[in-house]
Subunit: 212 residues, 2 copies
């Protein structure tokens, strides 16, 4: 049974959960009833030991001698990752990257709900994005007072990221999905940051290709 995590789950484990979910969803779609840790390991490219260790962070999902019930495992992972409710999120920066990334928030199974989008460029303000109207970032505090979001998606230039993060923290934002170059660090224990540095990712790929 999927139970509550008794102790803090390590980041490497958390990062692997979405991959488990995706593969288990595929199994469910293929009407597979049961899967063993070694079968999953073969699909994921890791070890059966790791699969079992990971799942056991959340209590026993499996049945000894049998394996893991795909439907139950899928439900448990979905519950862990998407939870019951969708987290309210706002987008800061509605440039090309911001518009593209906002699409992910609306995708099925992400567990988020985009409630507002902000920009500081007069040309952007008032334009449509998804079902929303882009608002002036000057009205951010007002908006957050009325309907507090939990997560902010930062798609703004490096130099304004630090200041904006500060403002958002003061407005009670709990999580950042940061696409700016700025290295945002979790400021306080109650705040979580996911940096997506596409430029860094590309440069490290370049290094590896040049040094095969």
């Amino acid at each position: 049974m999927a139970t509550y995590p008794q102790h803090k789950i390590s980041l490497p484990v958390i990062k692997r959960l979405p991959r488990y979910l995706r593969h288990v969803q595929l199994l469910q779609k293929a009407c597979v009833e049961t899967v063993s840790s070694s079968e999953l390991a073969a699909m994921l490219g890791n070890t059966a030991s790791q699969v079992r260790q990971d799942f056991n962070c959340f209590g026993g999902f499996g049945q000894q001698g049998v394996g893991y019930n795909v439907v139950l495992l899928c439900k448990a992972l979905e519950q862990l990752l998407v939870g019951g409710s969708h987290l309210p999120a706002i987008l800061i920066g509605t440039g090309r990257l911001g518009c593209t990334i906002s699409g992910f928030l609306g995708s099925t199974g992400a567990g988020f709900h985009l409630t507002a989008a902000f920009d500081n460029a007069p040309a952007q303000i008032g334009t449509a994005l998804g079902g929303l109207v882009v608002q002036d970032v000057a009205t951010l505090a007002e908006y957050c007072g009325a309907s507090p979001p939990e997560v902010a998606v930062l798609c703004i230039p490096e130099d304004s990221a630090s200041g904006m993060a500060q403002v958002l923290l003061s407005l009670g934002i709990k999580g950042f999905w940061n696409f700016s170059q700025y290295d945002l660090a979790a400021a306080s224990p109650g705040v979580v940051v996911e940096n997506v540095h596409l430029g860094d990712s590309l440069q490290s790929l370049g290094y590896r290709v040049r040094n095969i």
Copy 2:
């Protein structure tokens, strides 16, 4: 002096290099002449030990008792990450994500050069993207024969990613920047994969926000 890496550099070190470069470039822009490992550690949020260990993977950049010369360090890191030449890259999939991501390849200091873009949708083929015309993916083999690219950027749906990767491997692609949901794994020792799973990133953020 920046010398050639004598032994295989570990992936965690490689992943940190772009961040070092960004911060050292900022120092250079601010006309700082010298920086110590502890100063860099404070900027990066890691330890002075790690900074020195990381740099020493590539031979001594620094001077005992003094620190690291910012200009030389910057040059060394740029040489490592961007190298002398720009790697030829092609884009597969010119949807919204593909178009946005292709912009990063052209950005200064990335070390790549986008030479062609492909799609299979008739509506896309023939349209302009950057300075390129989107080509029919059916002509991919022909194109690669004439001007072989080193890297492919995959911005295609999950279900076509595996087959496409297979084709690209046979055409001699050495590196993949993979944005598809498909978990691309490095097929052979001479091939490098950088998976950017935005959906996974978002889901893991969701887990962490819900479990602060």
